[in-house]
Structures are given as structure tokens and as C-alpha cells.
């Protein structure tokens, strides 16, 4: 059964190539079957492989062929299957399949239906390679591959230049992180002589001591890659703009899978990170700060997808926090539950947008509770999970993170307090969204209802978002991949606070946005309030900052250089030659008398020389 492993990425790849080569000549039904079916097949095989893996629990290693071999540098095209990989593969193929199914209806009217599925399948392929890779170079292949697919899909509607700009931003900003990661790979290879993940970890443990500089540098470089891909500070600015792509794309790439690749990378190389405590702390801090900043921003947005985007940034911040405090399993657990409920939220938002003439502004919506009941329930469940209301999937994972953070000696309690604040804000913005969009008076009438191909994925994801937390599934294989945290239960007070905080957030959101009991208009409309609002609305003015200090200087630099200043050097030589030419041509003035005079001068000199006068 395990031998079937290479088939999993192969299905989406073949489908994608077929769709690319046929250039949209296939009928839409065929495209839909091919596109969604291939991922479905991949999901099925993943299930089979997963069951086979559960039986033994032994990591499985499969080499397809040698990629390149030069001396000791010999990365293979090889797959490595362990619990972590399996979890990621399940999420990618499972959630991926649901989103593909949803897309077949969502994108039905689009002219480039086939191109869409070609890209989306390619993405699934690249993402699978990323998580299945046995060495960091192959991982990097998947890593860049998903980036390229993300670029293609964000700019899918290429006619609008804004989409193109968003796509480029997504690619370039993540590329900054990727470059750091590439340098990290150089460093690791140069120091440890291999890029295969398992031998790498062994070599690292034998060559490096905890607290050495090199592992810290290497881990920080890897963290740079993770920060770029996972939209964490300071490279998070691309994600909100990336919402320009089709909504199912946002659900799959920019919520469930690709953006969590950074989390996966750190979890995958956790043995390196264990050697570098400062890097671990950096991970935690990056995660916490990002999650708080993004939560504040989400509270002020009015584009439904941007709210969800910031919320994604914030949630991934939680995952980083978990990784940073060494709660590997909790981080990955949150990754899984987040994939469920955020995909659900995005798809529901997509359904709302689909049914409301592509309206994105939440303040133009309202009262959709009765108009779109399926969507409403999906959204409500998703938000509940996001806000980590008790017994939803998000509750379990978030609770786990916070408790493990609390237990970290030293800064632990502070991280815990920060996490709680984040949880409060999360509850506030998620229910703000629910209240504004689905309650209150109706401002817009939907012109259609989601069909069955939308409703089925939504309902399935609802189930997953609700009960995903009870699944032992993710945790069993994970236990084999990570060092087990000490089992030690904190006091009930701490747990109680963790449970209470989201409820408080929910209450605040209710009082402000629905009940109307709290009038905050005065506060909001005051000068400082407005300024703060604007500041948060713009995402802490990060975009402005980057524009001023990076984009504009670069543009002026290219503008300065574009006329090729190097040519000036050669032109100076040319000018000098022309000058000489002018001087000498002046002597060739065509005046006989001048020639005669110069001849005489020459004569004088020659005679003088002959006579030895001079």
C-alpha cells in the first residue's frame, strides 16, 4: 500500500498537464471531472496509504530517482512519510478535494475554467511535493512551486491590473523569505554536508551543541522562509492583497494549505530549532506579535475577504507561537483545525460573494440569516470554531497552545497573556462579521442560492470544524514524530480563563454590533479614534512603510540606472577620440599655406637635429 505514495502527487500533476496542453478545448464537465476527480483520487489514495501507515507507524522512505549528483551533493527525488507528512497530506488532499468540488460550481461561468483547474491541480501537486519531500531541496521545489501557483491564481483574472499587482506582490514578498531560506540551505549543506532531512537532523545533533551560533543563524534563515510563506511579520503584507484571486483559491492556498507551509517547515526541522533556543524564542515572538497586530487590523476591515485574510495571519501567528514554545503537536493540531474552519469560512464567504453579485463590503450586506440559511450556518460554525468557543475544533487546539505557552519557563506567562488578548480579539472580529453580515436589516437580495456542489463541501467542512477537535486522528501519528511534552496539568483557574475569554469577546461583539447597547460611535469618531482606526485599517501602515523605504527607492534606483551609466564610460572614450579627431582635423584645414608652414617647421627641426643643435 505504501508503494502507492508517488501516485498521490501524480494524479493532480497529470490532470494539470492534460488541462494545460489541451488549452481549454475540453468541455467544462470534462474539466470539472478531471480537476476535482484527480484530487479526489489523491485523497482516496492518501486514505489507503494512511491506513497502511497506521498499521506499522514506521516512517516510510521511497526514492524515485537521483535528482542530481555531484560529489557529496546528491539530493534525490524521494518521499518521506511519517505522521506529520500524513497529517499534512490528509489536509491537502481532503480539504483540497472539497474546495475543488466547490470550485466546479463557483467558477462555472468563467471563461478560463480549464486554466483555473490546471493551476489549482498544479498547486495541489506542488504542495504535496512540499510536504512529502525527503530532502530540503525537493521541499524547496514544492515551496517555490506553490508560490508560483499562488502567483498564477491570485492574478487569475489578469485583465485587471490590480490583480496582477497583488499577484506580483505575493510572489516577490514571499520570494524575499525564500531567498533567506535558500541561503539557509547553502549554510546547512556547507556545514553539514547533506540536505536530506533525517540525516541532516542527525548530523546537526552530532556536530552542533545547543547554543552554538551556526544553528541559530541557520534556523533564523529558515524562519525567514517560513515568515514569508506564512505571512508573518514583517513579510505579511502580501496576504490581504492576495485576496484578489478567486475565493476558493483563497480558501485552499491562502488559508488552509500554502500559508501553513512555514509552520510545516519549522515543525519538519524542529530538531534544528531545538538546538537554537534564541531562534525558538524568535519564532514565538514573531507569532505572538503578528497574531495581535493582525487581529487589531481584522477588527477594522470592511472587506469580507480581507477580514478573513487578517484572521488567517493572526491564526498562523498562533501556530508560530505554539512552535516557538515547543508545542509542536499543538501547532500542527491548530494547523489542521484551522484548515477546516478557515476553509469553511472562506468558502462560505465565497458563497455569499457568489450570491450577492460579487459584493465584498460587509456593510452593504446584512440580514442574510434567513436568505442564505446554509451559508449562515456554515459561517456561524466556522466563526465559532475560529473564536474557539468551547467544544468546537478551534477550542481544543487553541487551548492546547495557550496552556503549553503558559508552562514555558520564563516568558511563558507573558506569552499566555498575549495569546489570551488575541483570543479575545479573535472572538470580537469573527462575531462582528457574523452579526454585520447575517443579522440586522437586509440591504441586498441574493440572486441565487448555492447549489449542491457548494452545499456539500460546506456541510462536510461544518462537520469537520465542529468535531475535528475530537479526532484522535491527527494526534496519533504526530506523537511518533515529535518529542512528547511533559504531561502536567495546569490549574483549573488557567483553563477557566482560557474558556471564558472567547465568550467575553463574543459578548462584546454582540453589545457593540448587534444589541446596540454600547455606543462606541463617539469614541470611534473622535480625532484620535479615527486616526487609530485608519492606522489599523491600513494594517499598521506596513504597506506604506515598505513603499517608502523599499519600493520607491528601488524604483528611483532603476530609473537612475536605466540609461546605462556604464555606457558613459565608453562614451567618454568615444568623446575623447572625437576630440582628438577635431584637433587633428583642424591641422588638415585644407589651407596650403598652413601645410607649407608646418613643413618648414618640420624642416627646421630635422636640420637642427641633423646638425645636433638641439
Amino acid at each position: 500500500m505504501l508503494k502507492l505514495l508517488p501516485l498521490i502527487p501524480l494524479f493532480p500533476l497529470v490532470s494539470s498537464i492534460i488541462l494545460m496542453v489541451t488549452l481549454g478545448k475540453l468541455p467544462k464537465r470534462m474539466v470539472a471531472i478531471l480537476g476535482a476527480g484527480s484530487v479526489g483520487m489523491a485523497a482516496l489514495i492518501t486514505l489507503l496509504v494512511g491506513l497502511a501507515f497506521m498499521e506499522t507507524g514506521q516512517p516510510h522512505h521511497q526514492v524515485l530517482w537521483t535528482w542530481m549528483r555531484v560529489g557529496e551533493f546528491s539530493p534525490d527525488i524521494a518521499f518521506y512519510l511519517d505522521g506529520l507528512t500524513l497529517v499534512m497530506m490528509s489536509v491537502i488532499t481532503g480539504v483540497g478535494f472539497l474546495i475543488h468540488l466547490f470550485s466546479t460550481e463557483f467558477m462555472e461561468d468563467d471563461n478560463s475554467f480549464s486554466r483555473y483547474f490546471a493551476y489549482l491541480n498544479m498547486f495541489v501537486f506542488a504542495m504535496l511535493i512540499l510536504v512529502m519531500a525527503d530532502n530540503l531541496l525537493l521541499l524547496y521545489l514544492g515551496w517555490e512551486g506553490v508560490g508560483a501557483c499562488s502567483y498564477l491564481l491570485v492574478g487569475f483574472w489578469y485583465q485587471n491590473p490590480d490583480n496582477g499587482a497583488a499577484a506580483r506582490k505575493a510572489f516577490v514578498v514571499t520570494r524575499i523569505g525564500d531567498t533567506a531560506m535558500a541561503v539557509g540551505l547553502f549554510l546547512l549543506f556547507t556545514e553539514l554536508g547533506t540536505l536530506d532531512i533525517q540525516p541532516l537532523a542527525e548530523a546537526a545533533k552530532s556536530q552542533w551543541e545547543v547554543g552554538d551560533t551556526l544553528p541559530v543563524v541557520a534556523c533564523l534563515l529558515l524562519l525567514g522562509g517560513a515568515v514569508g510563506k506564512s505571512a508573518q511579520l514583517p513579510l505579511h503584507t502580501w496576504l490581504p492583497d492576495a485576496m484578489a484571486g478567486p475565493t476558493p483559491v483563497s480558501a485552499l492556498i491562502h488559508a488552509a494549505t500554502m500559508v501553513t507551509a512555514g509552520v510545516y517547515l519549522i515543525a519538519r526541522t524542529h530538531e534544528l530549532f531545538l538546538l537554537a533556543p534564541p531562534a525558538m524564542l524568535a519564532v514565538a515572538l514573531v507569532g505572538l506579535i503578528t497574531s495581535l497586530m493582525a487581529a487589531f487590523t481584522a477588527l477594522n476591515q470592511h472587506d469580507i475577504k480581507r477580514i478573513l485574510a487578517y484572521s488567517t495571519i493572526s491564526q498562523i501567528g498562533y501556530m508560530f507561537l505554539a512552535l516557538g514554545v515547543g508545542a509542536w503537536a499543538a501547532g500542527i493540531f491548530h494547523l489542521v483545525t484551522h484548515a477546516f474552519f478557515k476553509a469553511l469560512l472562506f468558502l462560505a464567504a465565497g458563497a455569499v460573494i457568489h450570491c450577492l453579485h460579487h459584493e465584498h463590503n460587509i456593510f452593504k450586506m446584512g440580514g442574510l440569516r434567513t436568505r442564505l440559511p446554509v451559508v449562515f450556518w456554515s459561517f456561524l460554525i466556522g466563526s465559532a470554531a475560529l473564536a474557539a468557543l468551547p467544544l468546537t475544533s478551534g477550542f481544543f487546539s487553541k487551548d492546547m497552545i495557550l496552556l503549553q505557552a503558559y508552562e514555558l519557563p520564563g516568558v511563558g506567562p507573558w506569552l499566555w497573556v498575549g495569546g489570551l488578548l488575541g483570543a479575545l480579539l479573535t472572538a470580537m472580529y469573527s462575531f462582528r462579521l457574523v452579526f454585520v453580515v447575517f443579522f440586522g436589516e437586509t440591504k441586498m437580495e441574493p440572486d441565487k442560492q448555492p447549489g449542491v456542489r457548494m452545499a456539500v463541501p460546506l456541510s462536510l467542512l461544518c462537520v469537520l470544524a465542529l468535531v475535528g477537535g475530537f479526532f484522535a486522528l491527527p494526534l496519533v501519528p504526530l506523537a511518533s514524530a515529535f518529542p512528547v511534552a511533559s504531561e502536567h496539568h495546569p490549574s483549573h483557574l488557567i483553563e477557566g480563563i482560557s474558556i471564558a475569554v472567547p465568550l467575553i469577546g463574543l459578548a462584546i461583539a454582540y453589545f457593540i454590533f448587534l444589541g446596540g447597547q454600547w455606543k462606541v460611535d463617539g469614541l470611534v469618531n473622535s480625532a484620535s479614534g479615527q486616526m487609530l482606526r485608519k492606522f489599523w485599517f491600513s494594517g499598521w501602515a506596513m504597506d506604506w512603510l515598505y513603499d517608502k523605504f523599499w519600493v520607491q527607492p528601488y524604483k528611483s534606483l532603476t530609473h537612475l540606472l536605466r540609461r546605462e551609466c556604464m555606457d558613459d564610460i565608453y562614451n567618454t572614450i568615444v568623446k575623447f577620440c572625437q576630440l582628438l579627431y577635431r584637433v587633428f582635423s583642424y591641422t588638415q584645414a585644407g589651407r596650403l599655406r598652413w601645410y607649407a608652414t608646418s613643413m618648414v617647421f618640420g624642416m627646421i627641426v630635422v636640420i637642427a637635429l641633423l646638425q645636433g643643435v638641439i
Binding site: F73, Q159, A182, F186, L557, M566
Partner: protein
């Protein structure tokens, strides 16, 4: 004789193509294509190489250990002979030349409308000259081929070029000619010095290789060779002929120029500069590495500032070829393999981008990207192809360029980490200009009124060849690596031996 025939077929084919124009204006194209394919077929059929033959590590200074060797007396008085030889490296380069030659004939199929016969003849003669450069191992003969390949290229730019062709062709000629002159001086001085110590004149590579000149004069001779190849590469800051020449050349000219002619510079660095002057080259390597890194970044930055599609691609060449320089002067197997890979991968990807630029110009009559936009709507196939090669140039893993750049950088990192880090920044700036290119030409608002013909079968077939080539290089580059490996092994060993003998300073220590 195989090697002589390789060149002769092209030369004679050129003459035939020229004459055949009188029969039918279309005939030269077919003849040129068939001649190149025949040459390629001849190489494959007659060469009849097995892996075990290729895997033999040749002794650089013993011609009999090479794959092929041919020597005939020419001017015995001065020790000049007609000496050709082929090892794995030249084999790769010759195959690349012929493949890209066929591609360039295809790319100019409809582009060139007048004097097709003479055009195809020039094209074939350029190829003959380039193959001569890749095979010649008598320095005099090498210099002869080095100059011979320029003339038809110059004619191609000067006759069939675009609006600024006379300036561009002149600039191209002067830059390469002046640098070639320096090489000639260096060659003559080397031979004379060799004569002083051994008493016989010889221009043969095999005789000169073991001869260690030493002293300051050797450094200057190395520089003479280096400059000739460096200009051709082209390296910063003597790259400025390239954007003009590329921009003004006809499509096939650009393809050959970028795909093949630049590689002769890289080949020369690997074959001559370092093996002939190992100590001097290694002493020079910090400067060369710095120039390479600056070129890599500088090319990418300038590419971003261009409006002209072809000019942008030309600057991207400057950027990419900087990696070759880095790879050569890092001088370890990994980086050298990367440099060789880069030569091949860059040949394919840039040739394709130039073809796209050429097709755009043919259809839109402009290369100005500010006048394009939304062309994907009109020409989805071309858009998809352009997207592929754009991503290849960006260095997407799984395609040839990535393998090349990664190997260069990882090899370089061992020798000079900071240079590698700076050069790695091109992953970012390179992405910026290529994405902007895609945006400006193919994305954005389409011009609905425009009726443009999309790529047809011939063009798609040509592109498919290159796409398959790049994917193959990206996912299974091992055959290429294995072909180059023995040669590079022998060369690196040579340098190590010499530097151990001279017990100079450690290379790695020279550039921390």
C-alpha cells in the same frame, strides 16, 4: 576527421543555402534546417559514444585520452597546426550549438523576408565558427575561429537588424574585436615565452598547458585571455554592447547571440584561462567573483528599468551569465557543474524569450512593452509559453535554470559565503523584473480590437522542444552532469596540483 566534418558540413551547407535562393526564396530555410539536423545526426551517429567512454577522466594535457582528436600540420615553422579535439564539455557545447541553431532557423522562418539565402548562410557560418571555437585546441586556430564567428554575426545584425542596427553592430564588433586583440597579444606572448624555455614554437594547447609561466607577466597574460572572454560573457562593466546588439539583431541573431555566442566566453574561461594560468586565476578570483556578483544584481536591476522587451531580456542575460562567472571562479566541482548547467539552461530559456520578443515584434511591430498589455486574451498559447519561460528564468525549481543557479550558489557558498548571499538576492530582484514583464506584455487590459494570430504548429513545436529540454534539465540533469563531470574533475585536479606545487595561499582563505 569527424570533427573537421562537423565544421565542414556547416560551411558547405551555408554556401549551398546561399546559392539555392535563386531556385526558390523558401529553399534556404529548409536547407539550413536540414544541414543543422544532419550535422547533429552525424555527430550522434558517427560519434557513437558510450557512457563508459565519456566517464573516462581525460588527462587535459594528453590528447589521446580525449574523446576525439584530430591534428594536421598547418604552418609547421611556427608550430601552428590544425588541431581539434573534443571532450565532454565541448560535446555538450556542440550539441547545444546545433540544437539552438535549428531553433534559430525555425525562429526566423517568417521573420526574414529578404536575402534569405545569404541570411541562412551567415547563420550556418556563425555556427561553424562557434563549433570551431568549441573544438579548436591550437591557440592560433582558436583565435581564427574566434574572429571568424564574429563576421557573419556582424553581418546578420548590420543587414537584417532593426532600426539602430549600424550603431549596435559596430559596437558589438568593436568590443569583441578589441578584446580579441588582447587575447592575441596574450597568445603570442605565451607562445614566445614557451619558445624561450623549450626552444620550439608551439601553439598547441596540450604543449602550453603544462608550461607554467609564472611571475607578473603570467598575471597579465591571464588578464589578456580573461578580458576577451569576459567581454564575450558579458561581464559587468563591459556588457554594454550586449543590450544594443541583442535589441537590434533579428530574432535568429538574438537567439544565436544569447544562446551560443555568449557561451564561447564562458567556455574560454573554463578551458583556457584557469587551466593555463591556475595560480594567477585563483589570485584574481576575488575580483572576478565581485564582478560576477555585481553583474548578477546590476543586470537584474537594469532589466527592471527597460521598456524594450528585447533589451530587458538582454539585461537578464547579463544577470544570468554572471552566475557562470561566479561558478567558474569559485572553481569547485559543484560550482563548475552549475556554470555548465547555466550555460545550457540559459541558452534555452533566453533563446525562448527572444523568440517570444521576436514574435511579438513581428505581430505588433513594436518591442515597447508600454504599448502592449492583455495579450494573453489575444494569444493564449504564446502567453502560456511566455509564462513558462518567465518562471524558468525566475529560477523555479524543477526547471533547468534553478538547478544551475542553485549549484553555482551552493558551490560558491563554500568559497565565498558573502558573495553567494549577495548573488542570491537576484532571486528577488530577478523575480521583480520578470513578473513586471509578464504583466506589461501579457496581462492587464486586453486591446479588444487587436486581431493577432496565436502561435502556430511550427512555433509551438520549437517551443515544446525547449520546454521539454528545460524540464528535463530541471528534473533529471544527471546525463549532462555525468558528461561534464570527468572533464571538470580533471581540470579541478590540475589546478589543485599546480597550486600545491606552487604552494600558494589557500583559495578559500583569499575571500572569507
Amino acid at each position: 576527421m569527424i570533427l573537421v566534418n562537423l565544421i565542414l558540413i556547416l560551411l558547405v551547407g551555408g554556401v549551398i543555402a546561399w546559392i539555392s535562393e535563386r531556385q526558390h526564396p523558401n529553399l534556404p530555410r529548409w536547407i539550413a534546417l536540414l544541414v543543422i539536423l544532419f550535422d547533429l545526426g552525424y555527430l550522434c551517429a558517427v560519434a557513437d559514444l558510450s557512457w563508459s567512454q565519456i566517464a573516462v577522466v581525460p588527462n587535459p594535457s594528453d590528447a589521446t585520452t580525449w574523446l576525439f582528436h584530430y591534428k594536421a600540420e598547418w604552418i609547421p615553422r611556427f608550430g601552428i597546426s590544425f588541431e581539434l579535439a573534443m571532450d565532454g564539455l565541448s560535446l555538450l557545447m556542440v550539441v547545444l550549438t546545433l540544437v539552438l541553431g535549428a531553433i534559430s532557423v525555425s525562429s526566423s522562418w517568417t521573420d526574414i523576408k529578404q536575402r534569405t539565402g545569404f541570411f541562412e548562410a551567415n547563420l550556418l557560418w556563425t555556427l561553424a565558427g562557434v563549433i570551431g571555437v568549441f573544438l579548436a585546441l591550437d591557440l592560433f586556430l582558436f583565435f581564427l575561429f574566434w574572429e571568424v564567428m564574429l563576421v557573419p554575426m556582424y553581418l546578420m545584425i548590420a543587414i537584417w537588424g532593426h532600426e539602430g542596427r549600424s550603431y549596435a553592430s559596430m559596437k558589438f564588433f568593436i568590443f569583441t574585436q578589441v578584446s580579441g586583440l588582447m587575447m592575441l597579444f596574450a597568445i603570442l606572448a605565451l607562445v614566445v615565452l614557451n619558445q624561450h624555455s623549450t626552444g620550439v614554437y608551439s601553439f598547441s594547447y596540450f604543449d602550453l598547458l603544462g608550461h607554467n609561466v609564472g611571475g607578473d607577466i603570467a598575471y597579465w597574460l591571464m588578464l589578456g585571455f580573461f578580458i576577451a572572454f569576459f567581454v564575450k560573457l558579458p561581464g559587468f562593466p563591459v556588457h554594454t554592447w550586449l543590450p544594443d546588439a541583442h535589441t537590434q539583431a533579428p530574432t535568429a541573431g538574438s537567439v544565436i547571440l544569447a544562446g551560443i555566442l555568449l557561451k564561447t566566453g564562458a567556455y574560454g574561461l573554463i578551458r583556457f584561462v584557469v587551466p593555463l594560468f591556475p595560480n594567477e586565476a585563483m589570485a584574481f578570483s576575488p575580483i572576478a567573483l565581485a564582478l560576477g556578483a555585481v553583474g548578477v544584481i546590476y543586470g537584474a536591476i537594469l532589466a527592471f528599468g527597460q521598456d524594450d522587451f528585447k533589451r530587458m531580456v538582454a539585461y537578464s542575460s547579463v544577470s544570468h551569465m554572471g552566475f557562470v562567472l561566479l561558478g567558474v571562479f569559485a572553481w569547485n566541482t559543484l560550482a563548475l557543474q552549475g556554470a555548465v548547467m547555466q550555460m545550457i539552461a540559459h541558452g534555452l530559456s533566453t533563446a525562448a524569450l527572444f523568440m517570444i520578443a521576436g514574435s511579438l515584434q513581428e505581430r505588433l511591430h513594436t518591442r515597447d512593452m508600454s504599448k502592449m498589455g492583455g495579450l494573453w486574451q489575444n494569444m493564449p498559447r504564446m502567453g502560456a509559453v511566455a509564462m513558462f519561460f518567465m518562471l524558468a528564468s525566475v529560477g523555479l525549481p524543477g526547471l533547468g535554470n534553478f538547478v544551475a543557479e542553485f549549484m553555482v550558489l551552493i558551490g560558491l557558498f563554500k568559497v565565498a559565503p558573502w558573495v553567494a548571499v549577495v548573488s542570491a538576492l537576484v532571486l528577488i530582484v530577478g523575480a521583480i523584473y520578470l513578473l513586471i514583464m509578464m504583466q506589461r506584455a501579457f496581462q492587464g487590459k486586453p486591446n479588444e480590437g487587436l486581431r493577432l494570430s496565436d502561435y502556430g504548429g511550427r512555433e509551438m513545436l520549437t517551443m515544446a522542444v525547449m520546454i521539454v529540454g528545460l524540464v528535463w534539465l530541471g528534473l533529471y540533469p544527471q546525463p549532462v552532469l555525468d558528461t561534464a563531470q570527468p572533464v571538470l574533475d580533471s581540470l579541478t585536479r590540475l589546478v589543485v596540483e599546480v597550486s600545491e606545487a606552487a604552494s600558494t595561499t589557500d583559495i578559500a582563505g583569499a575571500f572569507p
